[in-house]
């Protein structure tokens, strides 16, 4: 024990925060787990609802309306707090009031650890994988419902009311739950491994973000119990003000999710800045980590704006303020401004991790170094910065600040320069390589194929004259599906095929993987490409009926969409088969990657690296004779360079 402690003090305790001794956790059913969380959420819900009705009963305006938004809000608020209490997320914050230091991290074992407030980033990563897949598949089922309704312009499966609820839930679940959270699974699992760290900077905050997201999922879904919300995922204001209490679920859900996004990004950013292993300089950090730090910057800085926007909306609905009520001194443009000021960075939150995944996978299968590494990093940072300056391109036709349109047209088109860097990097890496077309590589190629269409259609949208034709129609719809689904979701699945062997120690079946890829890729394009044409022919978004002459195209798109949905069944089958039914043990480094995360044993030990590695070079020296060794895994590291920071805080020493 070498900790320096003043003489004369007997039996010093080991400092907890750098204590790497895993303690075996309590696995019993009486400790905290999802069961207690659900119970806490349930009790909280009841309590909040009662309280809201109690308060509301003394206001005849509320009591007589039959719609007590306050009760809904308090019920959901207490539900989230109860959930977090039940899972144990608040144990430490409460203990801190008594001055307690954090206990050392607990190593839970066995399958039950996945149902607990776990502080191991690898467990949280897996929890995130499952969460995101569930979010994504619920959103996907709703998409099937949408396409069923659009099979025919006049014969309706759903009522107009139900249809708009479905569309709104689909958009909200997909945007806020499935896509924003995509940094969660791979980011939380692999960032520490890639930077050579044994842990996250704030594992409690990391776990907090996960359980907050799950609570957010229930909150967003609770809207259906209150009659849904009719506004789409954008929640535009007078309609928002007009809507029933389902809108409260939407607004509060956004507030909850924004807290989850902030905390997730906060922990990732701080970890990347501070926990890079010795020698892991900024020019050696894997591109995936670059993409995550760019995303984390957006998550931390853009999400608070959503929190504020949601708070103002909730006050409008419960305290009768008039933030978004133009007639009462508010402004419906205020919501549009706040929403899109968050919303545009948000769409890059959904693009950047995809770029990072692709940049990480392609060198492995081309056996070539990543082409123009610096340009890749610059591209991600450039995209992240510029994304704060383009939000009004969503409002070209809104009548707001029309004189600013040339400026926003310029900034929007400028953002395609750093986005183009990502293409340069990919294309350069493919050049004259002997490429192995394994499943993850196919997904990466598909990302370039799809994102190209998505990106180019974005340039059309940013051109104000052309925007008159395409705004608010199926063209936009197709555009963002090509970028988000074609880009991010393809990259995510590619990433799963690539990294699951490390995460679970079991390889995915290649044959089923190929089937999944080709059906998903083919039917994705068959579903969404016709939507460009449908949009150009004049079909607005979010409509349950459309012009007769568009039926053939819509039918075509719908049928392709059903097959697209079916392609995910192949994925699920593959997942079940290769992970549970007939698992096949994966070698420690099946793709023969140079990445630091692959240089660990499978399964990865609790503290990742037996010794903190000393990094010697970047992880892309493929096919290079006499390439330097990646890292020194054996010896203790020299003291980290960040002592300058400590010196700044400790002037006396």
């Amino acid at each position: 024990m070498t900790t320096s402690v003043e003489a004369g003090v007997e039996a010093p305790k080991p400092p907890a925060f750098i204590d790497i001794k895993p303690r075996r956790g309590q696995n019993g059913w009486l400790s905290q787990h999802v069961g207690t969380a659900a119970l806490g959420g349930f009790l909280g819900y009841i309590l909040g609802h009662w309280l809201g009705n109690f308060i509301g009963s003394s206001y005849p305006y509320i009591a007589n309306s039959g719609q007590n938004s306050l009760a809904v809000l308090l019920a959901l608020l207490f539900m989230v707090v109860g959930w977090l209490l039940g899972i144990g997320a608040l144990n430490h914050p409460i203990a801190k009031i008594l001055g307690r230091e954090a206990k050392g991290e607990v190593e839970y074992t066995g399958w039950t650890r996945y149902f607990r407030y776990n502080l191991d980033h690898k467990v949280v990563g897996i929890q995130y994988v499952v969460g995101v897949l569930i979010f994504f598949f619920t959103g996907g089922l709703l998409a099937m419902a949408i396409r069923t309704e659009l099979l025919n312009p006049t014969v309706h499966v759903f009522s107009a009311d139900t249809y708009i609820k479905i569309v709104s839930e689909h958009g909200t679940i997909m945007m806020m739950m499935a896509s924003s959270v995509v940094v969660g699974p791979l980011g939380n699992y692999f960032v520490p491994l890639m930077i050579g760290s044994r842990r996250m900077a704030f594992p409690r905050i990391e776990a907090f973000s996960l359980w907050t997201f799950i609570a957010g999922y229930f909150v967003i879904f609770s809207a259906l119990a209150y009659g849904g919300f009719p506004t789409g995922w954008t929640g535009y204001a007078p309609l928002q003000t007009q809507a029933g209490p389902g809108m409260v679920s939407y607004l509060f859900g956004f507030a909850v999710i924004s807290v989850g996004m902030m905390t997730a990004g906060f922990n990732l950013a701080v970890t990347i800045i501070n926990y890079r292993a010795p020698g892991m300089t900024w020019s050696r950090v894997p591109v995936f980590v670059w993409s995550i730090i760019a995303t984390a910057a957006l998550l931390t800085l853009a999400s608070p704006v959503l929190t504020a926007a949601g708070l103002f909306g909730l006050l409008d609905k419960t305290a009768q303020t008039s933030f978004y009520v133009t007639e009462h001194g508010g402004s419906s443009y205020l919501w549009q401004n706040l929403f899109w000021f968050f919303g545009h960075p948000e769409v890059y939150i959904m693009a950047l991790p995809g770029f990072g995944i692709v940049g990480e996978i392609i060198p492995v299968f081309t056996r070539k170094p990543l082409f123009a590494y610096r340009i890749a990093a610059a591209g991600m940072i450039g995209v992240a910065l510029l994304s704060f300056f383009v939000w009004q391109h969503h409002l070209f036709q809104s009548g707001i600040d029309p004189d600013m349109r040339p400026l926003f047209m310029l900034t929007t088109e400028l953002i395609s320069i750093p986005t183009g860097f990502i293409f340069l990097v990919g294309m350069g890496t493919l050049y004259r390589a002997k490429i192995r077309y394994e499943v993850p590589m196919l997904f990466c190629m598909a990302v370039y194929f799809n994102f190209l269409i998505g990106g180019i259609s974005g340039v059309f949208l940013s051109d104000v004259p052309v925007n008159v034709t395409v705004h608010g129609g199926f063209f936009v719809l197709s555009h963002f599906h090509y970028t988000i689904m074609g880009g991010l979701i393809f990259a995510f699945f590619g990433g799963l095929y690539f990294w699951l062997p490390k995460m679970t120690g079991r390889t995915m079946n290649k044959k089923l993987g190929l089937w999944h890829f080709w059906t998903m890729f083919g039917f994705f394009n068959l579903t969404f490409f016709p939507m460009f044409i449908i949009g150009l022919l004049g079909q607005p978004r979010r409509v349950f009926s459309y012009a007769r002459n568009l039926q053939t195209l819509n039918e075509f798109s719908s049928i392709a969409a059903f097959f697209l949905g079916a392609s995910f069944l192949i994925f699920v089958a593959n997942l079940m088969w290769s992970q549970f039914i007939a698992p096949e043990k994966a070698p420690a480094n099946p793709w023969d990657s140079l990445g630091l995360e692959w240089q660990t044993a499978t399964p990865i030990p609790h503290y990742n690296f037996e010794r903190i590695p000393v990094i010697m070079t970047d992880p892309y020296h493929y096919s290079e004779v006499g390439a330097p060794a990646l890292a020194d895994f054996g010896n203790g590291p020299p003291v980290h360079a960040s002592s300058a920071v400590a010196a700044a805080i400790e002037p006396e020493q």
């Binding site: 003394s58 009462h328 004259r432 390589a433 004259p465 925007n467 349950f544």
Partner: protein, 329 residues
């Protein structure tokens, strides 16, 4: 991209790619321009439709070579640079493969030039098209000659329009859940459920809403402007062909948003004049009941936002009704 590759079939890849790319791009661009371009929506019914169609086609002609380039590159990767090919040599790593200053710089320069060109071009088109048919808010800075005068006159009730005078015709579009109606201020401010327009005339659309946000999208006219409550949103276009056109709402406005559409007509100038004057007199009694013509209308208690507070008081709801007995003194 220098490399020590010795395989002759690999040596020529770059040249082949370029040749194929140039050939394909030229062919596709020409085919597009000749066969598809003229049919691209929304057609050529108005000045803005024509101009924006041209704009779309220009973008497409630039976009096609970019897409062809990337796809061709991907196809090459899939077919030629494939480990399944027997003649494929091993990948070559090392610093030469990790970057190439000339390629990087030229990529950045080319993309920057294209992007700046597009931004400048778009701005020019927007200005020369007097706003290109898009909603420009209450005080449009881009407008056709004479529009300002016609608008001011229309509001004061002194505006007039006559066929073959090249006068600008102001029309008001009023959106509400879930229909559009139209008022013609130069004809006594009568209201019509149909949008009827004269041909060869600059139209100034004044779009507003009585409840939530809608968006006025006259598809063939190539006009799109959000309808905001309490605000006027102005868009211009000049009609050029006779015929019918469709009007749709393109901003989600509640349950029946999908059913919010109707049809309009462009008539000859004299036919329009005849329709307008006859409707004006036929509707005269109804017009008197309408609120006086204004750029926007304050909704009553049944509007989306409920009551109105003119001077700090709550009308038509009383404070007691809203806040109960707990209202602050």
């Amino acid at each position: 991209m220098s490399s020590t590759n010795t395989n002759p079939s690999q040596e020529h890849h770059l040249r082949r790619i370029v040749v194929i790319w140039v050939a394909l791009s030229v062919v596709c661009d020409l085919l597009y321009w000749i066969f598809i371009g003229p049919h691209v929506p929304p057609g050529r019914m108005t000045s803005t439709a024509t101009a924006n169609q041209f704009d779309f086609n220009v973008l497409m002609v630039i976009a096609l070579p970019v897409m062809i380039g990337v796809w061709e590159w991907l196809a090459f990767a899939a077919l030629m640079w494939n480990s399944k090919r027997a003649d494929m040599p091993e990948s070559v790593g090392g610093p030469a493969a990790a970057g190439n200053r000339r390629t990087e710089v030229s990529w950045i320069v080319v993309t920057t030039v294209v992007v700046l060109f597009l931004a400048v071009y778009g701005t020019i088109e927007l200005y020369s098209g007097a706003g290109s048919g898009s909603g420009e808010g209450p005080n449009p800075i881009l407008q056709p000659a004479g529009a300002m005068k016609a608008e001011t006159a229309a509001l004061s009730g002194s505006g007039s329009w006559a066929p073959y005078t090249n006068a600008v015709l102001p029309v008001q579009v009023i959106a509400q859940q879930w229909k559009f109606t139209y008022r013609y201020p130069t004809f006594g401010g009568f209201e019509s459920p149909y949008l009827i327009l004269p041909v060869n005339t600059e139209i100034a659309f004044n779009v507003t809403s009585l409840d939530v946000i809608h968006s006025f999208w006259a598809y063939q006219l190539e006009v799109k402007a959000d309808a905001n409550p309490l605000q006027n949103n102005v868009a211009f276009t000049k009609t050029g062909q006779l015929g019918t056109f469709e009007v749709r709402c393109s901003e989600l406005c509640g349950i029946w948003h999908g059913a919010m559409f109707n049809k309009g007509k462009v008539l000859s100038e004299s036919a329009f004049m005849a329709w307008a004057t006859s409707t004006e007199s036929k509707n005269a009694a109804n017009t008197k009941l309408l609120p006086p013509f204004a750029w926007s209308y304050v909704p009553d208690a049944n509007g989306a936002a409920g009551g109105f507070y003119p001077d700090g008081n709550v009308t038509p709801y009383s404070p007691v009704e809203i806040y109960g007995s707990k209202q602050p003194s």
